[in-house]
Symmetry: C2
Subunit: 336 residues, 2 copies
């Protein structure tokens, strides 16, 4: 019998916390003009980048980010034991087309915009459990593919409500390894599906906030930690509306997030870019973590962070059938 690494109801404490040995990011032009301009490995000139469809562009980004992370790690694709990845498209289209050319053992994950956290925690499980030495984890999203699939084709020019968020065009990848230097994945909390009855697919922040709060609350219960244990706590893509709601819901539970909490969806676009309630998509936490937070950890500007991936699990079919939106959040604690 191996050592039990489960803690409390929903959490894992890794016995030999895996290292994140490199990350890479690629984004579209709008993301490149935002707050994190200086932190991306590549900024595309437009949202199609010479491909014949937005989907192929998204697939290109995912593949590019993985290859770049592998290169920055000083590795080759053959050194990667497994790849774990996902995106927002039906049947993970972008991911599967990228995996076709990457040619490594692959496990497909779907957690909507929580997929980066899900893939980091499953990657850490594979490494800490002794099933391999290096895993590549990656996510992508694309504004135009996501809008077409979930809401309206962007060509229609439908006016977006103010509560809506802007799906990030970008991809982020990270290498999780058994040996190395750099930040380590020390703990994770696996979320439950939470659905508080929100039905508007334009209003994902408010839909996801209760799931984020449930996972955060459970993380503190399971680990015995307080929010102040972390230098910073980041949710994935609650946006400005969902972030306010998360703070309020945590306050009702007696925990104050205000001193050290931010949402990745509020860190990408400038106000004048008119993103409405902020950024969303798998690449929201993907490019903020892989582009901005990872170097900050490496440089010691941050020492302990909690990344809470937030996913809105609706489909266009569930919306058409007038169903409310099931949501989930997974937390990953990363320490330098």
């Amino acid at each position: 019998m191996p050592v039990n690494k489960k803690r409390g109801q929903q959490s894992i404490l890794f016995a030999a916390p895996p290292y994140i040995t490199s990350t890479a990011t690629i984004v579209g032009p709008m993301e490149g003009e935002g707050f994190l301009h200086d932190y991306f490995d590549m900024i595309m000139k437009d949202n199609i980048n010479g491909q014949t469809s937005w989907e192929k562009c998204e697939s290109y980004m995912l593949e590019w980010a993985i290859k770049k992370a592998v290169e920055k790690d000083g590795s080759t694709l053959d050194d990667i034991d497994y790849m774990l990845a996902g995106d927002l498209l039906n049947q993970l289209m972008s991911t599967h087309f990228a995996m076709r050319s990457l040619g490594r053992p692959f496990l497909g994950l779907y957690g909507a915009c929580s997929t980066l956290a899900e893939s980091m925690l499953v990657g850490a499980v594979l490494i800490d459990g002794g099933f391999g030495n290096k895993v590549a984890v990656a996510v992508s999203s694309h504004h135009d593919t996501a809008e077409r699939q979930y809401r309206f084709p962007t060509e229609l020019g439908v006016q977006r409500p103010l509560v809506s968020q802007w799906t990030v065009t970008g991809a982020g990848a990270a290498i999780v390894a058994s040996i190395g230097t750099g930040p380590r994945i020390v703990a994770a909390t696996i979320g439950k599906v939470v659905d508080m009855g929100v039905k508007d697919p334009n209003s994902m922040g408010p839909a996801m906030a209760p799931a984020a709060v449930a996972t955060l609350w459970q993380h503190f219960q399971d680990t015995g930690r307080q929010p102040s244990y972390y230098d910073m706590i980041y949710t994935g893509d609650l946006g400005s509306v969902g972030k306010m709601l998360a703070i309020q819901l945590m306050q009702e539970k007696g925990l104050d997030l205000t001193p050290n909490y931010e949402d990745c969806g509020c860190m990408i676009y400038r106000e004048e870019q008119d993103p409405h309630a902020g950024a969303s998509g798998c690449a929201s936490s993907g490019v903020v973590f892989c582009g901005y937070l990872y170097p900050a950890l490496l440089q010691g500007k941050l020492k302990k962070i909690l990344v809470v991936g937030t996913g809105s699990l609706h489909s266009s079919t569930s919306y058409q059938q007038k169903e409310s939106i099931p949501c989930i959040a997974h937390a990953v604690a990363i320490e330098m």
Copy 2:
């Protein structure tokens, strides 16, 4: 540093092989009239079962199968550390709606019809790695939801080509545990995405056969085993056309599958039910393994089997964009 459990290029040998302590199945009426009539826990009277949509019926089946497997295990939902599940629908709609009421920590997986094998292997990784004691794994598919999404709404009555397969209406669930009795998951081989250029979404057996053969071949390379090591080898849903092709492709590699190989897609429907090339869907391997093979292992009729889940990873968007079909196969070795 933990013991390295990776073997060869793509395989895992579990150090303390997890037990499969119970399984459960539920199917539609057509599946109930097939070869495996006597092996299902529940046969629904029709494909909607009193729900207001086929999607809700599929979600009902998944939830029912999980609850039944938990009950047969003598457990309660609270005993289940994690749930791993997936289905064929966009954004795993059936799974997410089931998880809303099941209320357990959940990881969403997408491997199309390979999802049972994927969830069993990730479940075994969580148990063998010491991250929990009990995991529920489950998959569902539904003929009418899948046809509408991938091909034509069934109400149109479009004639199906003879190479096409019939998506199984059903769900299968299994409990994977650290202690218990019964068959154990001893090894797994994680597949790579393989795309040989097949573009017809009606022709999934031929599209998936090369992926199945690639994973089978690698499994034998990595483990040093021969096909004869196993009492039986089962692919998930190649159907009659894909099965012939798999045998032929393995013959070209010098390995003879004919003595001990069958495809789950050829084990469900009778010829006179006119399924054309056989069964497909997550529930093809789902209900065959959980309904028929698991009891055969328990009773000692089978001692060593290899289950190779096969997944066709296309989407209706990729088809409309004239892309070929990426496929994957994951293998799980189960021994009594």
